[in-house]
């Protein structure tokens, strides 16, 4: 997709192509490609932004699962015994771990979004820092949460 300025196109080609993002247009001229998703250098702020939308989707599903859990609980001990067995199974624990990742992701990314909405944390340095925390933070937090659950004996395989 991207190529350096082509030889023989001196009128259009800059002497050097520091960006490496020039393309030959259909009319044969060499031009920098206009900014679009494919030509922006990937940036962690983009990951954080997209991940927040994914997280909102995931936490909606998580909330629906929570309502299902409430329903099972409201149906009495016999019905809930089956749900509890499912929750304690390896599959249930796997889903539970995923939901805690989602919850921590929602908290960290939501806090980042709110902070940015007030007009703060938008310099390159702090935007990078906040986005990195929001993107990577949920994983160690969720691992720590589950390690504590197992260590305290609340959950076991």
């Amino acid at each position: 997709m991207s190529s350096s300025p082509l030889p023989g196109d001196a009128s259009n080609a800059p002497a050097a192509d520091p960006t490496g993002r020039f393309v030959r247009q259909p009319n044969g001229r060499v031009r920098p490609l206009s900014p679009h998703l494919q030509v922006w250098r990937w940036h962690v702020t983009m990951t954080a932004s997209i991940l927040f939308r994914v997280t909102i989707g995931a936490i909606s599903v998580g909330a629906a699962i929570a309502v299902g859990w409430l329903a099972a609980l409201a149906c009495g001990p016999e019905t809930y015994a089956g749900t509890a067995a499912l929750l304690g199974s390896p599959f249930g624990l796997f889903i539970g771990f995923g939901l805690t990742v989602v919850l921590f992701s929602f908290l960290l990314n939501g806090a980042r979004h709110l902070f940015n909405d007030t007009g703060n944390g938008l310099t390159l340095k702090s935007a990078n820092l906040l986005s990195n925390i929001a993107v990577w933070g949920p994983i160690p937090l969720a691992v720590l949460f589950w390690v504590l659950l197992f260590v305290t004996g609340r959950v076991s395989l």
């Binding site: 909102i56 989707g57 909330a63 409201a74 009495g76 809930y80 908290l107 979004h113």
Partner: protein
């Protein structure tokens, strides 16, 4: 257009145009809901930690405390309000056909409304220690 501008002159605040309809209110509501969800989410984390592995009777005792039941209702209602507004923004970004957009937003709002109503129903029953469902419904 000029007649409209004279009739309804655009209002500005700090050199930023104020939305003519309800966009600003939705934007602010979404932020307030999210701001509420941060402390409520931390409370959910701590509650899940204390309740993990708890049996049926312990869970019912937890729900019997009005603070727990009330906070859980508040959390879920705020979450569904936020989800409804956030999904609206996402849908408006990607679906541009008016009919499909309206159907997607309306459909999701119905789903969230049903989930919100169901969560309140179940939590109130659990908090009051009502007989297990479906007792009391249609019986």
């Amino acid at each position: 257009m000029s007649s409209q501008t004279t009739k309804n002159p655009a209002k500005f605040k700090n050199h930023v145009k104020i939305s003519e309809r309800h966009g600003a209110v939705e934007w602010l509501t979404e932020r307030v809901a999210l701001a509420l969800l941060i402390p409520l989410g931390l409370w959910v984390v701590s509650s899940v930690f204390t309740l993990a592995g708890a049996g049926y009777d312990d869970l019912l005792a937890w729900f019997a405390a009005p603070l727990n039941a009330g906070l859980l209702i508040l959390t879920l209602l705020t979450l569904f309000l936020f989800a409804s507004l956030a999904w609206k923004v996402i849908i408006e970004d990607y679906i541009h056909k008016p009919m499909a957009k309206t159907l997607a937003i309306g459909g999701l709002n119905l789903v969230f409304l049903a989930l919100a109503a169901a969560s309140v129903f179940f939590i109130v029953r659990l908090a009051l220690g009502s007989a297990p469902l479906p007792a009391g419904i249609g019986a």
